[in-house]
């Protein structure tokens, strides 16, 4: 057992006693609540406040941004995956758009279609982009339907 030089002065002994207080363990949640209450805190309020501090810090954490960035990357990758199944001719693209608009209904496809009211006369690039968006919405819709069935 480590012993040290016995305290010579009252000041030394005060220091040793303070150290012993600092080494005490907090035993139970009840004890924690009692300490907070005695010090004039409302334990529930402390809990809510600390939770809020942690939530704010988590939002600001660089790793949180990285996670968000990764989610966006994943979504972009899913969107890009549709490129491989694009029809090759302009007529086929227009047909595919019409089929998807019919499948999704006006409500779901409205946002995507808003940019291309007269889509049949839009340039090839815009048509391709519109088809991408509709395919993505359709895939999301299928996924949602699968989840509901499960």
């Amino acid at each position: 057992m480590p012993n040290r030089k016995p305290p010579v002065t009252d000041k030394d002994l005060t220091r040793a006693i303070t150290e012993s207080f600092n080494e005490m363990e907090l035993d139970s949640p009840e004890e924690i609540i009692a300490i907070l209450s005695e010090a004039g805190y409302d334990p529930d309020q402390v809990s809510a406040q600390m939770k809020a501090v942690a939530e704010r810090a988590m939002k600001e954490a660089p790793l949180n941004w990285r996670e968000r960035a990764q989610e966006m990357e994943d979504a972009k990758a899913r969107l890009m995956a549709f490129r491989s199944v694009l029809p090759s001719s302009r007529a086929e693209i227009i047909n595919a758009i019409k089929e998807l608009v019919a499948k999704l209904g006006s409500g779901k496809s409205e946002l995507a279609m808003a940019q291309y009211r007269n889509f049949e006369s839009a340039p090839d690039e815009d048509l391709t982009s519109l088809l991408h968006q509709l395919q993505y919405l359709s895939a999301q819709e299928d996924k949602r339907a699968d989840t509901n069935e499960d």
Binding site: R4, P7, K11, M24, E31, A39, A48, A54, P62, L63
Partner: protein, 217 residues
């Protein structure tokens, strides 16, 4: 440790932590430690710039979650590590005030900056280790501190006089036993929880006397 990398796995563990409960425990721990130092140091040092125990705890939670203070789960559980962080902040305030006289290092702005919790960065000198610091003012302060400590110890011993188990714990500390519950328990031949109970009772007496001192002022 600051500046080390917070991994996604560690961040996930931190996200799953119940910060309400951990925050309560950490605040209670910080309050106890500050009360202990207020009892045991003559300077009656307050936290700097109107800071509160809550500020310390919030600061530690923020730094941990943003990765500026790095908890490594491989090295141990979160709560003891958080308590160590609180301990280092509180100890920095009270130890420097208790044992040393603080003097600024230089007039350089860089060296006199505060850290982000507002604790001043000082070079601390032991005023009595060096003969050049044994000024009449320091000698007078030392005498006042000795008188204060004697009064504190005498009243504490008087307060525990009817409780032999508390007297015995204080007595082994006077004999030089390391003031940690496990060593005190070993020395006294009792369990650690019994020692913890004794220390809690001694502490209650001490804080009660502290309040009486405050009222008497």
């Amino acid at each position: 440790m600051e500046g080390a990398k917070l991994t996604p796995e560690t961040f996930q563990q931190l996200k799953e932590t119940d910060w309400g409960a951990v925050g309560q425990e950490l605040l209670a721990f910080t309050i106890l430690r500050i009360q202990n130092y207020k009892w045991g140091t003559y300077s009656r040092q307050e936290l700097p710039q109107g800071k509160t125990p809550e500020d310390i705890v919030q600061h530690i939670i923020e730094k941990t979650l943003t990765g500026k203070r790095h908890w490594d789960p491989q090295k141990g559980p979160l709560v003891p590590w958080l308590k160590d962080q609180a301990k280092s902040v509180v100890d920095a305030v009270y130890n420097s005030a208790a044992r040393r006289r603080e003097i600024p290092t230089s007039t350089d702005d860089d060296e006199n900056e505060s850290d982000d919790l507002g604790l001043p960065r000082h070079r601390a000198l032991d005023s009595f280790a060096s003969p050049s610091n044994a000024s009449p003012e320091n000698i007078l302060l030392e005498e006042e501190e000795a008188e204060w400590a004697a009064k504190r110890i005498n009243t504490l011993f008087a307060a525990v006089s009817g409780e032999p188990e508390l007297q015995q714990v204080l007595s082994v500390m006077m004999d030089g036993c390391e003031p940690k519950p496990r060593y005190l328990a070993e020395e006294r031949g009792v369990s650690i929880s019994e020692i913890n109970n004794c220390l809690k009772r001694i502490r209650r007496h001490a804080l009660k006397l502290e309040k009486e001192f405050d009222h008497a002022k």
